[in-house]
């Protein structure tokens, strides 16, 4: 019983880490540009296909594929920002959000047209064989996914905290006008934010696609990650991470204690409950009222 529960928590945490990465992508773009990018899930899907192509069709080694996928995904983020978002930056936020939903549909269909709607297996370097450590039951895959996610989060933290560009990005998130006055190129920061978010999506894609298989509908995982971001408090980076992880664990446990139907809705029930008690999410700042 204990063993099974711990294995549920560990595998839930692995999925949750991927949710957390995608949620991070949502939050970074939102903080910097006030836009909710609903194509975030499609970044994950497209990067899955990119790594599939590089690995299977071109036979490039795994570590190089990982780097190339992140770079190519980053470029995709910049292109999306330049082509879809920037021209309508002054339009109401609502229109921009719809534009990102449009972009997600275009990306999904494009993947379908190029690769077909078949489910494809994506190889991974992590083994799916079981490992036992006392009461802990897990696979190398779980540990690999959790470890890689934590490393990416740490790199991001160091980047934001200790580099000049990172500081400029944080400044832009706080006040665009003030940042501009301090000599920060806000438009360059916007592009960079999209590149980083898409790049994180790329990592998420490489990590999750071998687990749940690759197909053009993979991007719908973004919806769950979005719920995770809200759970943690939309706009909060630690919130996105904790919210995503929590979501993965709760999903697994509710499936274990109840049935598939409850598992499917458990995240949303929890989301509603949390928002009723803490309207701004677990880590969200209390809204500042103007007087």
């Amino acid at each position: 019983m204990v063993e099974i529960l711990t294995s549920q928590v560990v595998s839930g945490l692995a999925t949750g880490c991927v949710y957390a990465l995608i949620a991070l992508g949502f939050v970074l773009i939102f903080k910097a540009t006030d836009v909710v990018n609903f194509a975030q899930g499609e970044f994950v899907m497209v990067s899955g296909f990119i790594s599939y192509t590089l690995l299977i069709r071109f036979g490039i080694p795994y570590w190089l594929v990982l780097i190339l996928t992140i770079v190519v995904s980053g470029f995709m983020g910049v292109i999306l920002e330049r082509v879809v978002v920037r021209p309508i930056m002054n339009a109401p936020i609502f229109s921009i959000v719809i534009a990102t939903i449009g972009a997600s549909t275009v990306l999904r269909s494009a993947a379908g047209i190029i690769y077909g709607y078949d489910v494809l297996p994506l190889p991974t370097i992590f083994s799916k064989d079981p490992v036992r450590l006392g009461v802990l039951n897990f696979t190398a895959m779980d540990v690999g996914v959790i470890g890689s996610s934590l490393v990416i989060m740490l790199i991001l933290y160091l980047f934001f905290k200790f580099t000049k560009t990172g500081t400029a990005m944080r400044a832009t998130a706080q006040s665009q006008t003030a940042a501009r006055l301090m000599g920060v190129s806000v438009s360059r920061i916007f592009s960079l934010t999209w590149a980083i978010s898409a790049g994180i999506g790329g990592v998420a894609g490489v990590l999750i696609a071998p687990i749940i298989y690759l197909d053009p509908n993979l991007g719908f995982i973004g919806v769950k990650a979005f719920a995770g971001a809200i759970l943690g408090g939309f706009g909060s980076i630690p919130g996105a991470i904790v919210g995503g992880m929590l979501l993965g664990i709760i999903e697994n446990l509710s499936g274990y204690f109840f049935n598939a139907g409850i598992k499917q809705v458990s995240t949303y029930i929890l989301l509603i409950l949390v928002l009723v008690i803490w309207p701004s999410g677990l880590f969200g700042a209390a809204p500042i009222r103007k007087v």
């Binding site: 099974i4 709607y117 297996p121 079981p130 036992r132 509908n217 598939a260």
Partner: protein, 397 residues
């Protein structure tokens, strides 16, 4: 008075016209003209079971293309209109209405998916459109009256075979069910429950999942806890490899066995070594076996769909269409919905040349074939372990 008489004359003429048009050419059936027959299908071309949809459609079109190139059936070419329902019942309903009311299809042919076809069942009955060989072997199509007719042994029949094999041959008493929580999964699940009861047994665990679910770790945990020695997979091709992987991850290695939808190469491609030893029921031969009918299939697929690999999925569509064409041949030049159903029902011991014979009738099941055989994944391939067996009528009682 004269005006009244005039009106009566006009009315009479109109009624006469109606009667005349009503009894016009006999093939004034929807979707049938002198030169063409239009058949409709709802497929999943972009969703969770798109691998089935794309391939079944191609298999059916391969037959229709060959028949059309040779001049059609009784001079009529067959045109297939297929819409994508993404394996979602509400979309299947919209598509069916579009096919019947706008495209005026003659029959629904090879409609994919149990929940999706069940969603349009009553509509088709209402519009009196035959539902011919839907791409679902649920027992509902074999027992629901004249407008529905299935082609192969049902999931219920197949599950009875699975249970009998596990209990009698393998002497396994602890059996669990992993099933899709809809009309598809329930067909085999409930039939299995009934058959177990006849063996004075019961499932040790009944674990469900939802269509398009992608994670089964909690199901794996429950199955392990139940101590089941065999798990019956009432699933499609995407879930069995993932479930097997997640069971193995917690050190649980039961016998996995399931009905025909899992017996596709995709299961092996996705699961790799984790599906080694997985068992299934096959209801028609493998694409690689010898036989005149399979030679024809391989030639047609190569000619019309050179980019698609030979696979049980497109062979499924292919044999359906071949059977339908045989039914149309028998219906003759005077083609109506009634005559095509009669044509299909007149098929007895028809042997297309692959060792399997098709017969309608003889029992209560509205199907054309009642056989199945067991297969197992060995060295990365589905390999037969038994011979063809006539399957008993599996029910839910």
């Amino acid at each position: 008075m004269k005006r009244l008489l005039d009106r009566a004359a006009v009315l009479g003429a109109l009624i006469g016209l109606l009667v005349l048009t009503g009894s016009g050419p006999v093939w004034a059936e929807d979707g049938v003209t002198d030169k063409e027959v239009v058949v409709g299908a709802g497929m999943d071309l972009t969703g969770a079971v798109a691998n089935w949809g794309v391939n079944i459609k191609a298999g059916m079109e391969a037959v229709f293309n060959r028949v059309n190139d040779a001049g059609g059936v009784h001079g009529r070419k067959i045109r297939l209109i297929a819409y994508d329902h993404v394996y979602q019942p509400p979309k299947a309903v919209t598509n069916a209405k579009r096919l019947v009311e706008r495209d005026k299809v003659f029959v629904m042919m090879g409609h994919l998916g149990t929940p999706t076809t069940k969603a349009i069942k009553e509509y088709l009955e209402e519009r009196r459109v035959p539902n011919i060989f839907p791409s679902t072997a649920a027992s509902i199509w074999t027992t629901s009256g004249p407008w529905h007719i299935g082609d192969l042994a049902t999931y219920a029949d197949q599950t009875w075979m699975i249970i009998d094999h596990l209990v009698k041959d393998k002497k396994i008493k602890k059996i669990a069910s992993f099933y899709q929580d809809d009309e598809y999964g329930l067909d085999g699940h409930l039939a299995g429950k009934a058959r177990l009861k006849q063996h004075e047994l019961a499932y040790v665990a009944e674990v469900d999942y939802k269509r398009a679910d992608i994670d089964f770790s909690s199901q794996a945990a429950k199955l392990k806890e139940s101590g089941a020695e065999a798990v019956i997979l009432q699933a499609v091709y995407r879930e069995p490899p993932r479930l097997a992987e997640q069971c193995h991850a917690i050190g649980y290695h039961p016998v996995f066995i399931g009905p025909s939808p899992i017996v596709v190469d995709k299961t092996i491609e996705l699961g790799g070594k984790h599906v080694d030893g997985m068992m299934g029921v096959e209801v028609y031969p493998l694409p690689t076996e010898p036989g005149a009918f399979l030679d024809l299939y391989r030639a047609d697929m190569k000619k019309y769909f050179p980019n698609l690999a030979l696979d049980t999925t497109n062979l499924y569509g292919y044999q359906k269409a071949a059977l339908f064409v045989e039914g149309m041949q028998r219906a003759g030049r005077n083609l109506t919905r009634d005559s095509v159903l009669k044509g299909i029902e007149s098929i007895k011991d028809w042997d297309p040349g692959w060792g399997l014979k098709y017969s309608y009738g003889g029992d209560a099941r509205r199907v054309m074939s009642r056989v199945g055989r067991l297969v197992v994944v060995k060295d990365g391939k589905w390999t037969k372990v038994g011979e063809w067996m006539e399957l008993k009528e599996g029910g839910r009682r």
